[in-house]
Symmetry: C2
Subunit: 468 residues, 2 copies
């Protein structure tokens, strides 16, 4: 593709479509929309537009497609793989003004929403009706549901309830041509043609822009119980994780947090509810939920007993809502805290659950070999381990040859354990160079060809997931 | 595509690849592989081959692709949309000799299997390890897991546990070119590139041939309870269905069977466990499962109370394993029984759950208007209604203009209710002409283009889902 022409004509066109008040090209805006939460990257766009309807997005895409202008769709900018970074300049389309929950269908347990609604706002709105939308990325207080669709996000509840893809029934999508389609139907089962819905979920804004979302809801469980178990060894902790599932339990959360990360986040949020001392290497956070409190209590006891067999220290049960909130706050703010402490590079590896001990061991060995610090935390029940890396003088992996060598070794290890690069953050900008480690050229060719089906001119989020 | 050349060269080639004993072109074989369970259709292929390895399938596809010979992949031939019918002749590849369960991974709660394993055999094998693979199409005693992948099958348990797509982690697929890919990784969460796994699931053998399957398993619930509730009105029964979910219950099965169907199947299997009299229009079958019997008992009571509010007659609780087996046998053999009774045409409509009463009402009105008999049954909890149609002198919908007019009216109704054509049977051969009722041309163009990405020569199951 030749370099895009960002001209006054483009600005005028965007202003005609969306109104002057929704088009931005001041330095501050361009800086703000030039980064997300990924590493320390900054690539300002040429112009930012905040459409207020599907029709406006359609008109913008049609114009940009005809004029070969790159467009980067953006939710709340909380992404961790650079999916919303406009590294080629061009237009950023922010969905922040498409922020209405359109319908909570209590008859069918479904919600229809625009993409710019904050995930937690959506969760709370359906909760008021006794309904539950489980996927809860750590950033749920600020991320948009549209971004969650793009990255196929997960979160702690995924281990029992599944990820975003398991709740998406139907999507309104604007194609790069400006055409508007619905991908499916508002039904729980669907064998009608290729599953375009699932193709769009997790496609990171490279195939179309999602403008309406129909999600499945489930009844809200009445109770949850939470406990925290300290371990003297990271590997023992991760062995215990896999034992719990083998014993037939399905906790509603099963998180692992390494002690270094807990130390950092405890200090940042000034909370010391979690025991931290030299004998502890990591904590497991275990939650169960359901409608019968007695059943949950006996489940919790049985799980605690099992954890003891894996050399857990004294288990701490969260007694009330306040303690639970405190514990979850610590867990949810871990990424932010360790990033502020210099662990700017985050990986989102995922392996079969029982391979977690091997992965953790391998990460630590790589750290010693290549002289970097790593702290690990994440959704251990899913085998999804976030690895935060601090290496003196190297704030970004993207564009750094030394860091890339290290990550190649990491992903080769992950692949050898039956895992893959990303469990819930996406590939985006920063991990595309590693796709060939987990996929054959035949897979990548299919993906590239699918991209061309949707976006023959490569205007929509170009340079993400793979290069064409 | 020009007419294929079926020559001795082809036969020789197949014999070279698979051995003489695995290539069939006798009349009986061609007849057997010329139909599945769909209507009364018969289109014999030119030759049937039964490969014993992925490599053989790769060699066959490569040859057929180079020589533009149509290939129809086939599981157990239990399909209901004609997906395995070789209406263009050519080669049928039967997966019946790829029938090994390769590994039950108890550490990670996964199973890896070949496609020609009977679904119930797979379920029983993992059950022995205390594990559960829930999707259970009515034909599970004879259908293959590979066919289930192709059609994204469901079954009674889907209402609580989801359909096939919710359990597929990774697939080995032979592309029409002969290339062999794995679509994903053996992990519970995956945001690494486009979701090729979900694109293959439900693609009805038009994009590639699945040769290995990795499925997620869950712990086997310890108990289940089953009850049967008679209703004087079909619409009241279907209103009750939606009320149960609104009240916060998630049964592990929620089936509706119209009395005419029950009458026919009871007679066929010579079982009269289900009350049949003139005051009854339909029965609901409700199952709950879990690990705590007391909890299940009180759930069952609460559901029975709710059913009473919707004018259920006397509820029958299945007391023991034998009664449960008897009830399920009746339900599972309904399709076969009503087909034998002349209801040869089956539709697989799906609507949002609360629209079931409107759909049933509409079906009955269409029957009066167009002079056909319809019996309804199916997975009411999912809004997935099977409609079996008997019309004097018209055994097939495929190729019958009068029946097509009726089905167009039916699918327009379904679409107007927010539903779609197929919940779990697929589009196959017989429903492709109705795709434009539920999809815009833009959707269909995308699907056709995706087909061309995988199969540029249109050799693999051509003429299924849509025409190119």
């Amino acid at each position: 593709m030749t370099a895009p022409l960002i001209t006054n004509g483009l600005i005028n066109q965007l202003q005609n479509i969306c109104g002057n008040a929704n088009v931005f090209f001041d330095v501050e805006s361009l800086h703000h929309y030039g980064h997300d939460e990924t590493e320390k990257l900054l690539y300002p766009p040429d112009v930012v537009v905040k459409p207020t309807s599907t029709k406006e997005i359609s008109q913008i895409l049609k114009y940009c497609n005809e004029n070969l202008i790159p467009v980067t769709p953006r939710g709340a900018g909380t992404g961790l793989s650079g999916g919303a970074i406009p590294q080629n300049g061009g237009v950023v389309i922010s969905t922040e003004k498409l922020n209405t929950i359109l319908e909570i269908d209590e008859r069918n347990l479904q919600v229809t929403t625009e993409p710019g609604v904050i995930t937690e706002v959506l969760q709370n709105a359906v909760k008021e009706k006794g309904l539950f939308y489980p996927p809860d990325p750590s950033s749920r207080g600020s991320c948009f549901i549209g971004g969650n669709i793009s990255e196929n996000s997960g979160g702690p509840k995924a281990v029992k309830y599944g990820v975003v893809k398991d709740y998406v029934l139907n999507l309104e999508v604007v194609l790069p041509s400006g055409e508007i389609i619905w991908t499916g139907a508002n039904v729980l089962k669907n064998s009608t043609g290729y599953n375009l819905t699932q193709l769009i979920v997790g496609s990171e804004g490279t195939l179309g822009i999602v403008t309406k979302i129909v999600l499945k809801l489930i009844p809200l469980p009445k109770y949850d119980l939470l406990m925290l178990a300290p371990f003297a060894s990271l590997e023992k902790a991760s062995e215990a994780v896999s034992a719990i599932f083998r014993a037939g339990f399905t906790p509603s959360a099963m998180e692992l947090v390494e002690i270094d990360a807990l130390q950092i986040v405890s200090k940042m949020v000034d909370s010391y509810v979690v025991p931290i001392d030299e004998s502890i290497a990591a904590h497991l956070i275990v939650e169960v939920d359901g409608n019968n409190l007695d059943v949950l209590m006996s489940e919790m006891e049985a799980i605690a007993e099992l954890l003891n067999q894996y050399e857990a220290g004294e288990v701490f049960f969260a007694d009330d809502a306040q303690q639970k909130t405190e514990l979850w706050k610590l867990r949810r703010r871990t990424a932010e805290a360790v990033k502020l402490a210099g662990y700017t590079i985050e990986e989102d590896t995922v392996v079969p659950r029982a391979e977690l001990p091997a992965l953790i061991k391998g990460v630590k060995a790589l750290g010693r070999q290549h002289n970097f610090h790593a702290v690990c935390y994440g959704h251990a029940g899913d085998g999804n381990l976030h690895i935060r890396i601090k290496k003196e003088g190297i704030p970004n992996s993207y564009g750094n040859e030394e860091m890339n060598r290290i990550l190649r070794a990491l992903f080769k290890l992950v692949k050898s354990l039956g895992g893959t690069i990303s469990g819930e953050h996406g590939i985006g900008l920063i991990q595309k160079d590693f796709m060939h480690i987990v996929f054959d050229e035949a897979n990548l060719n299919i993906m590239r060809s699918i991209k061309k089906v949707f976006d023959p001119n490569n205007i929509l989020n170009p340079g993400k997931i793979f290069d064409l």
